[in-house]
Structure formats: structure tokens, C-alpha cells
């Protein structure tokens, strides 16, 4: 059972502003999906290792040589706001 309060808390964690209508709707729909997901809890997995990735993952390193990358202009080209060669944002504190 997902309450609107749960929804508000999770939306805050996810940095999503929700309307009152969305809160009500998501509470209902998330409840339905989670109810379906309850099914996995019935499996005994006490001896099972989790899988986060299907390929054998190792750190991949390359030679420490300078390669061409994005220019500052390219990196900033999609910025909604920029100032003096930086990304500009509203006040943080």
C-alpha cells in the first residue's frame, strides 16, 4: 500500500514536483506495480548471489595519453545558461 505521503517523500528524493492529481494517481499506480513485484519475495534466495551485470566486469583502463576530447565551446553548446565559460545556475544556499 503506497500512500500519498510515500509518494511525496519519493518525489522529493527524485527532485520531481508533482501536482495533487499526480500524487493521487501515482500512489494508486505504484501500488499496483509493487503489488505485482511482491511475487519475487516469495522465492527463497538466501543462498543466491545478486547479479548486477551479466558480463564479467572489470575496470577498463587505457594508456595515459592525451586524446582529443570536447572543446569548452562544445561542452557548453547545449547549456541553458552560461556565463564566462561556465554553466550558470541559480543560488544554491
Amino acid at each position: 500500500m503506497i500512500t500519498e505521503r510515500d509518494v511525496e517523500y519519493v518525489a522529493w528524493l527524485a527532485r520531481l514536483e508533482l501536482t495533487a492529481e499526480e500524487k493521487e494517481r501515482f500512489a494508486r499506480q505504484l501500488g499496483q506495480v509493487l503489488e505485482h513485484a511482491e511475487k519475487i519475495k516469495s522465492l527463497d534466495t538466501s543462498d543466491v548471489e545478486p547479479t548486477s551485470h551479466v558480463v564479467p566486469l572489470r575496470n577498463v583502463m587505457r594508456e595515459d595519453v592525451v586524446e582529443p576530447g570536447l572543446t569548452q565551446e562544445e561542452a557548453l553548446s547545449n547549456a541553458p545558461r552560461r556565463q564566462g565559460g561556465y554553466f550558470a545556475v541559480p543560488r544554491i544556499i
Binding site: E17, L30, K39, I40, V54, V55, R62, S77, A79, R91
Partner: protein, 489 residues
């Protein structure tokens, strides 16, 4: 062959080499077709016909000088708008990226450019590839060329619809839980999800990083083998990319399937199959036997839990991947008094309902107090599913199932019922969780709508997969085209 826009890529390639047609003529035919049907089908978010024209002219110039213009040259392609294209709008079907112009190419695009890529446009898709109908696009739905009242499937619905409607000869899609195979199935096409790590994900806008793969959507298995061979292979810019030799898929595809062992997971033949899908499956199993393969029912008991595990794992990864859309470096920004307000408002306006739902679901599943019960448990279930496949492939060369339990459904039918929508991926999702390759080929019609056969293979055994697909394609002999009237035939 009828019109040029209905041809297969390999046919056009041979005609181009023999100088029976020019790349410009092929493009003109496709462009005319786009003009004729795009208003009704809406396969594309962005058309790139001028760029395609330049590529076609270059291909013709090379051919005139006796040079090889490359295997993709002059063959009009639709590219799902999830792949970054340098200098060309890449929206991912989202408002939050509606002005995003990448400064680099995805690796698959870079490779295809060297091979002569002739791109018609960026194809429509469910926002951030989340959906099974292409109704979740911020730019409106795509319609199924077989029946304009129905969805083309998703999330690569624009790619599939473009190929089925003659608005492209072949296409690239991406597949996280079925997003290549299910639309290919709904549109009467061939769609392949490669082994995880075979095709580079660099420049593919991330949805669920441990599940996403890029792959071909084509009109036949030969085109599928050809396009796969052009995009497969190691990429140092994708650290999950596998260091493997890419076999000659065109050669590997021949040879038939006599003596092969085919398993039919009973868990994928249960609830929700329509009578027509069941009938098509039974006919396919009979054909397998006629071709000399051994067919047997198989048990992969944990597949019953795949959908539940997927709808924890995929949203969890998505909620983390989509944290980057914060209005700072690219994409939409809605100004606020401070940083937090800007984040909240930007994401509220920029994301559509399904994306918000999945971000919420994933954030919930990863949050303190629920992590072990949901995400941790889902990862363990993933291990059990992998184990089932590993065991099954000790006995079988391939596994088969329907691609989707039903043919294409109506627009609006499932859009308000997320769980019903998710269930349409029940047969394709286990494949992504296991990282194995699978292909969907058309195998019949139900009420005039295409039905797909899914063939699943061992890790990195695309060769066998294509060989089985090729043999079945020939034996099934699916020749149907979208009808006039309710479709765009």
C-alpha cells in the same frame, strides 16, 4: 520486387553495384513515400532528408568512379531518436531534450557514417525508451502501418513503422525489455537484440544500463545479418563492450537447422496468448520438426518472476540514469528561486507520465528500508533466471516463444493501465535480464495483424540465431504487406 521503397537493403545494394539504380533514385522513391504516408503514420520526430541527399550523391559519385561507397551507402535508414547524432536534434522522445543537439556521434552512428550511412530521419519512440506502444512520445504517437488505429509497438515504434510503411529500408532501434523485438513483431519485420556487450552503447541515451542494447530492424533476416555485422564489435569508449571477433553473419546464416534442438519454455506459453498467436506458434513448431529439428517443451521455472524483477531493476537503473536531467548542462531548464526549485520544476515539466512513474518506482525500490526487499531481491532473482537459461542451453541450441502474447493493440487501450502495458513484454524481458541475444521474425497473421516468433540463443551465438531465423523465414514464407484501407499499403 515492386516499388524501390519496398526493397530489401541487400537487393538495393546489388542493384547499386550493378548500376541498375542510383542512390539518388532510391532516396527519391523513399522521400516520395514519406511525403505520401508520414502524415498518417508519423514515424519520425526529425527528418534529415537534406543530409540523406548529400550521402546519396556521394554514394553515386563513388560508384561512378568505380569505388565501393560502403555497405550502408545509398540505403535509406531510420535511426531511433535515442542515438546521438552530431549536429542533429536528438530528443529521445522527451520534452526535456527537445532542443538537444549532440556534439558527438554514437559509436554505431560513427561506424555507419564510414560505411555510407544515408539517414532519412530520427525515428519516434516512447520517451526515454520507456513503453511498449510509442504512445509515450512527447511528440505524439506513431501509428501501425498495418492498421492506423493500432500501435506499432514500442519503444522503437517509429523505427519499425518507418520500415513497414516504406519510409525507410531498414532501421536501428534499442532494446531494454523488448523494444526492438515487440515493434518488429507488431509491424511484420525482423528485429534482433544482440548479446549484451556485442554492440557499443556509447552515445545511446541510457535507460537501464545493464539491459540496453542497440540492434537492427529490417525486412528480412539477410538484412538483419548485414546490419548487425556493421554495428557489432568492440568499442574502447564503452567499458561494457566485449572484446570479441565478430563472425561473418551472412555466411553463418546459411546451412539449415537439421538436428538442432529447440526448447519451448512452457512459462512463455501460458496466460494471455491470443488464439491466433497460439496457432502461429503451433505451426512454427511443426515447421521446426519438418526441417529436421527436435522440438521439446522446456522448463525455466524462474521466468515466471522475470517481469516482476524487471520492473524493479529497470526503473531502479533508470531513476539513477535520469538524475542527469537537472537543467544545468543541457536540455530544458525551468528557472526557480534556487537550485532545488529549478530541479523540481524542470523535471516536472520535462518528463512525461510514464517516465515520472518509473523514476518514482526506481527511487522507491532503491530507498533506505526497501532496497534489500525490492532491488536486492530482484538482483538475486536475476541470478536464478540466468541459471535457468544456462541450464537450458546445455540441452538446447535455441529456445523459442511468441515475441508478444498478442498482435498490435489499439491506441489508447493500455495507456492508462501501466501493468497491462508491461505485460505485453512478458516474453521478451527474460532475454534482457540474461543478456542473451534474441530475434523476432514474422510468422503469420491474426485478423490481418502480424505475429512474431521469438528465437533466443546462447551468449554471443548470434550466428546460430540467424541461421535458425533464416531457415524458418524461408519455410514460413511470410510475404504479407500492410493492406490498403485500414493500413497504408
Amino acid at each position: 520486387m515492386g516499388e524501390l521503397y519496398e526493397a530489401r537493403a541487400w537487393e538495393l545494394r546489388e542493384m547499386l553495384r550493378r548500376r541498375e539504380v542510383s542512390a539518388v533514385e532510391i532516396l527519391r522513391a523513399v522521400r516520395e513515400r514519406v511525403r505520401e504516408v508520414e502524415e498518417r503514420v508519423r514515424s519520425y520526430i526529425t527528418l534529415t532528408l537534406d543530409e540523406a541527399e548529400r550521402a546519396a550523391l556521394e554514394a553515386d559519385a563513388a560508384l561512378a568512379e568505380g569505388r565501393d561507397p560502403g555497405p550502408a551507402a545509398g540505403i535509406p535508414m531510420a535511426v531511433k531518436d535515442v542515438l546521438c547524432t552530431r549536429g542533429i536534434l536528438t530528443t529521445c522522445g522527451s520534452r526535456i531534450l527537445e532542443n538537444y543537439v549532440p556534439v558527438y556521434d554514437a559509436t554505431v552512428i560513427g561506424r555507419l557514417r564510414r560505411d555510407g550511412l544515408t539517414m532519412v530521419g530520427k525515428a519516434n519512440m516512447d520517451e526515454f525508451a520507456m513503453g511498449s506502444s510509442t504512445e509515450n512520445s512527447a511528440f505524439g504517437p506513431t501509428r501501425n502501418p498495418w492498421d492506423l488505429e493500432r500501435v506499432p509497438g514500442g519503444s522503437s515504434g517509429g523505427s519499425a513503422a518507418a520500415v513497414a510503411a516504406g519510409e525507410a529500408i531498414w532501421a536501428l532501434g534499442s532494446d531494454t525489455g523488448g523494444s526492438i523485438r515487440q515493434p518488429a513483431s507488431f509491424c511484420g519485420l525482423v528485429g534482433l537484440k544482440p548479446t549484451y556487450g556485442l554492440v557499443s552503447r556509447f552515445g545511446l541515451v541510457a535507460f537501464a544500463s545493464s539491459l540496453d542494447q542497440v540492434g537492427p530492424i529490417t525486412r528480412d533476416v539477410r538484412d538483419c545479418a548485414l546490419l548487425l555485422s556493421l554495428i557489432a564489435g568492440h568499442d574502447p569508449r564503452d567499458s561494457t563492450s566485449l572484446q570479441v571477433e565478430v563472425p561473418d553473419y551472412l555466411k553463418a546464416m546459411e546451412g539449415g537447422i537439421e538436428g538442432m534442438r529447440v526448447g519451448v519454455p512452457r512459462e512463455l506459453m501460458q496466460e494471455g496468448l491470443t488464439p491466433g498467436v497460439r496457432e502461429c506458434m503451433e505451426r512454427c513448431l511443426a515447421i521446426f520438426q519438418e526441417l529436421g529439428a527436435e522440438v521439446e517443451e522446456a522448463g525455466l521455472p524462474h521466468l515466471d518472476y522475470a517481469l516482476s524483477a524487471y520492473y524493479i531493476i529497470a526503473p531502479a537503473e533508470a531513476s539513477s540514469n535520469l538524475a542527469r536531467y537537472d537543467g544545468v548542462r543541457y536540455g530544458l531548464r525551468v528557472e526557480g528561486e534556487d537550485m532545488l526549485e529549478m530541479y523540481g520544476k524542470t523535471r516536472a515539466r520535462g518528463f512525461g507520465a510514464e517516465v515520472k512513474r518509473r523514476i518514482m518506482l526506481g527511487t522507491y525500490a532503491l530507498s533506505a528500508g526497501y532496497y534489500e526487499a525490492y532491488y536486492g531481491q530482484a538482483q538475486k532473482v536475476r541470478t536464478l533466471i540466468l541459471g535457468d537459461f544456462r541450464k537450458a542451453f546445455e540441452r538446447y541450441d535455441v529456445l523459442v516463444s511468441p515475441t508478444s502474447p498478442t498482435p498490435a493493440f489499439r491506441l489508447g487501450e493500455k495507456v492508462e493501465d501501466p501493468l497491462a502495458m508491461y505485460l505485453s513484454d512478458v516474453c521478451t524481458i527474460p532475454v534482457n535480464l540474461a543478456g542473451i541475444p534474441a530475434v523476432s521474425i514474422p510468422c503469420g497473421l491474426e485478423d490481418g495483424l502480424p505475429v512474431g516468433l521469438q528465437i533466443m540463443g546462447k551468449v554471443l551465438d548470434e550466428a546460430t540465431l540467424l541461421r535458425v531465423a533464416r531457415a524458418m523465414e524461408e519455410a514460413i514464407g511470410f510475404r504479407e504487406r500492410p493492406p490498403a484501407g485500414r493500413g497504408v499499403g
